[in-house]
Symmetry: C2
Subunit: 452 residues, 2 copies
């Protein structure tokens, strides 16, 4: 059965849907600063109730609330949407060309912190539901939402919520929070995520800063931490911690072949982000395969001593670094913490302290699952363009627990595109992508209901 | 001729002299922030004029002013005192146990930022002059002062001042800004300073921060700078830049022997500063010889990416480090800049930018100069304790230009002691050391005049 009436409703309601997005983007909820959480929850609750959803705000101790929503619909099958209402901070503010919390539209782009990650996705899904209700008065399948508020700090409480409210969240399949279009316009459908270990390393060599005249006798905390960090990764990007690669599961040959066949648009990235160089010399089998299939070690932040203008001749007592590892199947972040501790001890750095800020396990939904096919067909039919299945994305998240605790396939598709600038200044989505995604979601609801 | 009358004047005037010190310490003049400069200059000018000195405030373009002062006296010989009115910032303020700009006296200690480095020294010299005038109405020799305002940022303008006002500053010998007493109470007389190269290293890998998901393809600025820094110095403290040690002049055997004979009170330093470990394994010939005779490489500050609380999954576009080298004869900071550039290029880091913030050449006054002997005898006679000649101190400064442009011997002796905490919280001097130093200076004026 055609859904032209639903598509018409989408077209008619575009301004309303963009107003919803603008409303949400004006309420920054920064989980890392415990700021704007309640306001974000209330705004989303109101929006969902406005389009007929039943909302429960779940609240566990020492955690940001999770919004659970439920929509009645035809058939027995339930589709679960996973999203989050928290965002990254907008800093550095001076690098934004528009105000980050207003939802400015310019040249077909909608700018705001959170627009791409992932309020645009949340609203695209609510918009599809709204359109079905406008056109038909009801939905073609049952729908649930799990909207958490700690995604940007590693979703520490999500496993507890999933265990505690397992029955509430029960569904037949899950659509993950976001999606991407590459520079050639291909829509990416993601079947997996990398794992994550995010730690803070800290070393203290004295109880106060010393005059740097003591440098011949005392190693500064800064010097010491630099030496420790330098043992973690080489210039080609290879991680040097013994055992790190031992349990990496080689991707299936068809997965690797499919990724290697895809071009990696490095020139476009180079031009857009001003990237000076890629780690090309380690790329034997295509940049995309490297990006998606290789684990990483990135120093997300380092701080020690005098960081202001000019010179201070001090020998810093303390140094800190934020170190992030992105993991691939079957690397386990808990095992890596122990390997890292042992490695630092063996290299002569037993005094470098490790504080774990987040752990996430890698996960991949099997490429031959029927739900993957449903999503791919819905996407192809609605966009009329090539759709590419990605066995995994370069990002991380709690897909593992979602899939394992609820025993369902998880697939990621959404509004984003290659230059969406998530986590960076000038985050944005394209209005055309937003519209296309609302239609895609409307079509998916229908196909998911019909195939049940 | 005895100087009991001068000593009596010193004892009588102690409270006045401490008030002078307190007055100066209440006016913070922070050269690195261009703050409080005029107020500092005016306060010192007033003080000097009060005790009969003629003051000229010299002002060159784009420089903090230099205070030149002159006192008439007996004989033909002129003693030049070198001091500075600028201070290090007082941060971190929360680590001070007393307010840093009040001159609090507690348990025989006078606390203030600048008390030890080097307002206590400046006032001790003015106090000695005051005491001679109180007792005799005139001085036993001619005296000049050169008091600059950029010492804490590497004295960038001092060479120009010295060249331009060479005739004004002309003298027969110079007493450098400060001194020290070791934990055993031995007074140190310093004959030299280390050289200095202070640079900022900066690397930028993109025009904006990236999502850290790109870590498999792009090396973060933080990772890159860590790898570059790690090539500069090894875990034993040895600098790894080719050519770095080539021109190091071996100290005379009597210098090394005298330093090796002196104990290094590492346990006291360990207890006081909470130093966890010394670079002991590289110390073959005594810690003091290492401290004074070895060049260093210290990372005074490092900053990149996310340095706040919690986690942000970014790949930093930029990273910066403040890197300080302390040099020994005959290392030349200008040559080292070129060696560092070449070294970074050869290691694969042509994109790591070097910005030179300060250069100073090492200098040592010959240990057998007659002025060295005069100072040593004045110190021994007035303190009644052992005096140790240090061929060099572990600190840096523009002693080279002072000695070379004015062609005079330079010797450093002053009010400080081993726990004076210069450049650190709770900077202080001992009142007993201050008193002793005023007497020492008064005696030195006499001996210098008589021996002319």
């Amino acid at each position: 059965m055609g859904i032209d009436d639903v598509r018409s409703a989408i077209a008619r309601r575009t301004d309303v849907h963009l107003d919803w997005l603008r409303t949400l983007c004006r309420i920054p909820g920064v989980s890392s600063r415990r700021y704007g959480i309640d306001a974000s929850v209330q705004a989303i609750r109101q929006l969902i109730e406005e389009i007929g959803g039943k909302v429960q705000v779940l609240q566990m101790a020492d955690a940001n609330p999770v919004i659970f929503a439920e929509f009645d619909g035809d058939g027995e099958r339930t589709l679960l949407f996973y999203n989050h209402y928290d965002i990254q901070p907008a800093e550095p503010l001076d690098e934004w060309t528009v105000p980050p919390f207003e939802g400015v539209v310019e040249a077909g782009l909608f700018y705001a912190r959170g627009a791409a990650d992932n309020k645009g996705d949340l609203v695209s899904r609510l918009a599809a539901i709204d359109a079905w209700r406008q056109a038909r008065g009801r939905l073609p399948c049952r729908v649930k939402f799990l909207i958490e508020g700690e995604e940007e700090i590693g979703s520490p409480s999500l496993p507890d919520y999933l265990r505690t409210y397992r029955d509430l969240f029960q569904a037949d399949a899950c659509i993950w929070k976001y999606g991407n279009r590459d520079p050639a316009g291909r829509l990416e459908v993601g079947l997996g995520l990398k794992g994550l270990l995010y730690v803070e390393l800290e070393v203290e060599i004295a109880s106060s800063d010393l005059h740097s005249g003591y440098g011949a006798l005392v190693e500064a905390a800064s010097n010491r931490l630099v030496r420790a960090l330098a043992t973690l990764r080489d210039g080609r990007g290879q991680v040097l911690i013994p055992g790190f690669y031992d349990v990496v599961r080689p991707p299936g040959s068809e997965v690797r072949a499919s990724l290697e066949a895809l071009p990696f648009e490095d020139e476009i990235l180079r031009a857009r982000y001003g990237i000076r160089r890629f780690l090309r010399d380690r790329i034997r089998t295509g940049a995309l395969a490297t990006l998606l299939l290789e684990p990483t070690c990135t120093f997300c932040g380092i701080e020690s001593g005098h960081t202001g203008e000019g010179m201070r001749t001090i020998l810093p007592k303390q140094a800190k670094a934020k170190v992030e590892f992105r993991l691939v199947p079957d690397q386990d972040p808990e095992v890596l913490v122990r390997q890292l501790r042992h490695h630092l001890d063996m290299k002569g750095f037993p005094d470098v302290q490790i504080r774990v800020l987040a752990t996430q396990r890698p996960h991949q939904t099997p490429i031959n699952h029927e739900f993957v096919d449903t999503v791919k067909r819905a996407a192809e039919e609605e966009t009329g363009r090539e759709v590419v299945l990605y066995p995994t994305l370069q990002y991380s998240g709690r897909m593992y627990e979602l899939a394992e605790y609820l025993r369902l396939p998880v697939v990621s598709v959404g509004v984003g595109y290659w230059d969406r600038r998530a986590h960076a200044p000038n985050e944005n989505i394209r209005l055309a992508d937003f519209d296309e995604t609302v239609r895609l979601m409307a079509r998916l609801l229908q196909m998911f209901g019909e195939e049940g």
